[in-house]
């Protein structure tokens, strides 16, 4: 008699990987058995397809439903679900799209997928305690350069050499207009407020500055990253933008680090 593990390994191969003949010798290797197996295969396909479709509506619109179904089937084989909670399923769709379309006219699809995954993460991230920006006024001016900021949990940053913000925006309504890829690079900050997930297009310098803060760099270092990205970078303006978009969760002073 096969062990429980062997039964389950074979069933997984038959259902998710859709291998043939793996139920022998104990399974009904008959026409009826195959039809019944089809119920499980269909359930798995539908579950994985539906989960991806909910997370990636723009990618689905861009490639079309039929192609998206094909992508979903490839994805379930190449990137197995790793949890009983489907909330994490689909994180690597951008990787699959990169593999498929890296050197083609559809190379932008992977970055659109990264943006949609960022939105999905933002939607369910922890809320955290509201940050009072005025508390920064108490920071001694000598310490400002060494300030390190924490960003709110829902905040995500997605940069691309393609106009991903414009593509995403164009696909939010039924009346989709073509987007010229010649618009070039776009950088997006994803946040969440009481109304839900919001996307904001940032200029390259502000994006580089926020990315540097997110990486844990001190304010002075992040400002120099912003400067390097574009001479037009103005620190005060970038900080005002972050305050307006409710991006910050808190800050640390050098003294905090000593403690």
């Amino acid at each position: 008699m096969p062990s429980l593990r062997e039964v389950q390994q074979r069933a997984y191969r038959a259902i998710v990987l859709e291998e043939e003949g793996v139920f022998a010798p104990w399974g009904p290797d008959t026409r009826v058995g195959a039809a019944r197996l089809a119920v499980y295969r269909n359930n798995a396909r539908e579950t994985f397809h539906k989960t991806l479709a909910v997370t990636y509506p723009v990618v689905q619109r861009l490639v079309g439903e039929l192609c998206f179904r094909g992508l979903a089937r490839s994805y379930q084989r190449e990137f197995p679900s790793r949890g009983g909670d489907l909330g994490g399923y689909g994180a690597e769709l951008s990787t699959l799209l990169e593999i498929y379309y890296r050197d083609t006219d559809f190379a932008y699809l992977a970055d659109v997928a990264r943006l949609e995954w960022a939105c999905a993460e933002a939607e369910t991230a922890a809320e955290g305690v509201p940050f009072d920006v005025t508390s920064l006024a108490a920071v001694p001016s000598d310490d400002c350069a060494a300030l390190r900021f924490a960003l709110r949990a829902p905040v995500r940053l997605v940069g691309s050499r393609f106009p991903i913000f414009t593509i995403w925006q164009a696909n939010q309504s039924d009346d989709v207009r073509p987007v010229a890829l010649s618009r070039g690079a776009e950088h997006v900050l994803v946040t969440r407020d009481a109304g839900g997930v919001r996307l904001h297009r940032l200029d390259a310098a502000t994006f580089a500055f926020v990315q540097s803060l997110a990486d844990g760099d001190a304010l002075e270092e992040a400002a120099s990253v912003g400067d390097a990205a574009a001479p037009s970078f103005v620190l005060q303006e970038a900080l005002t933008t972050l305050a307006q978009l409710n991006v910050l969760a808190g800050f640390r002073l050098p003294a905090d680090e000593v403690e």
Partner: protein, 290 residues
């Protein structure tokens, strides 16, 4: 619609009457009013994320309705080690929301760390029995609750069995102290698909082990001449399933009952009427049996 339901203490017991699943399409009606239903069931995994709208909504309704947490992803029957991260998250939710009932399935959904995300039937073998007893023990200890274990529907035997499924389930309940969530639609589905007699299943379970009953709709498919009944939760409960429900109530008495309707969702009023129908059957059957 009930105008103002009485306030309740979080963790209040689920009454022996018919509740419904809380689905996102019906959320606005629960957030702006208090639809007349005695209790609500939610899928535990829908609240595994750290934040977001789902949590805000559940915080809102938990002060007005007793809750049942129904898990679909713990993969209790998997030959893999129990997913400690999943269990920890579930324990956090149980502490936070204090559901009156916590349930999972007598099934598996993962192997080698890869998930099917479906409720696959366990072969009713001694090996599987010994395995799942240990895992139910561990889960109950970690969650500090009495778990209810649900019988699942199946379309294909995924391995050979050594005992009838109800004997398997009864022994798990007897050895671990867990309760049974009896899904009578799943019994009917399995009776149609495998010839497993549903009434014998009901008669074979200890009378005091059933803590909740599920009823649901199913769909009949024809695959190249093979008639397969699929547990779809997308339509009204069928007549034969209501008949089995009567048999179950006659044996187990009044039990919290859930009308499961998860896809092709009807308007809330239709779902509530289905729950009232279950209540009427429960009262009529119980009155006859008493």
């Amino acid at each position: 619609m009930r105008a103002t339901p009485p306030p309740r203490t979080p963790g209040a017991p689920v009454p022996a009457s018919a509740g419904i699943g809380l689905r996102s399409a019906h959320l606005p009606q629960f957030l702006t009013g208090s639809p007349d239903v005695p209790w609500l069931e939610v899928h535990s995994e829908n609240y595994f994320a750290a934040g977001g709208k789902a949590h805000a909504a559940l915080e809102n309704v938990r002060s007005r309705y007793p809750l049942s947490f129904h898990g679909v992803g713990l993969s209790l029957g998997s030959a893999d080690a129990l997913d400690r991260k999943h269990l920890r998250r579930l324990a956090e939710l149980v502490r936070r929301y204090e559901p009156a009932l916590v349930s999972e399935h007598l099934s598996w959904s993962s192997i080698g760390g890869r998930f099917v995300n479906d409720l696959l039937p366990l072969p009713a073998t001694r090996e599987a029995l010994e395995h799942i007893v240990l895992r139910v023990d561990e889960t109950q200890e970690r969650l500090a609750v009495r778990l209810l274990l649900e019988n699942v529907s199946s379309y294909l035997a995924l391995g050979p069995g050594e005992m009838p499924e109800h004997c398997f389930l009864a022994e798990v309940a007897q050895r671990t102290g867990c309760g049974v969530l009896l899904d009578v639609n799943n019994l009917y589905v399995n009776q149609c698909n495998h010839g497993t007699p549903a009434a014998a299943f009901i008669a074979g379970l200890p009378a005091d082990c059933v803590g909740e009953i599920h009823v649901a709709g199913h769909t009949v498919h024809d695959y190249d001449g093979d008639r397969v009944v699929v547990d779809t939760h997308d339509t009204h409960v069928s007549g034969p399933v209501w008949a089995l429900y009567e048999v179950a109530i006659a044996r187990f008495g009044r039990v919290p009952t859930l009308v499961e309707w998860d896809s092709s969702l009807p308007p809330l009023d239709v779902l509530l009427e289905e729950a009232r129908h279950a209540d009427r059957i429960m009262e009529a059957t119980y009155a006859l049996a008493a």
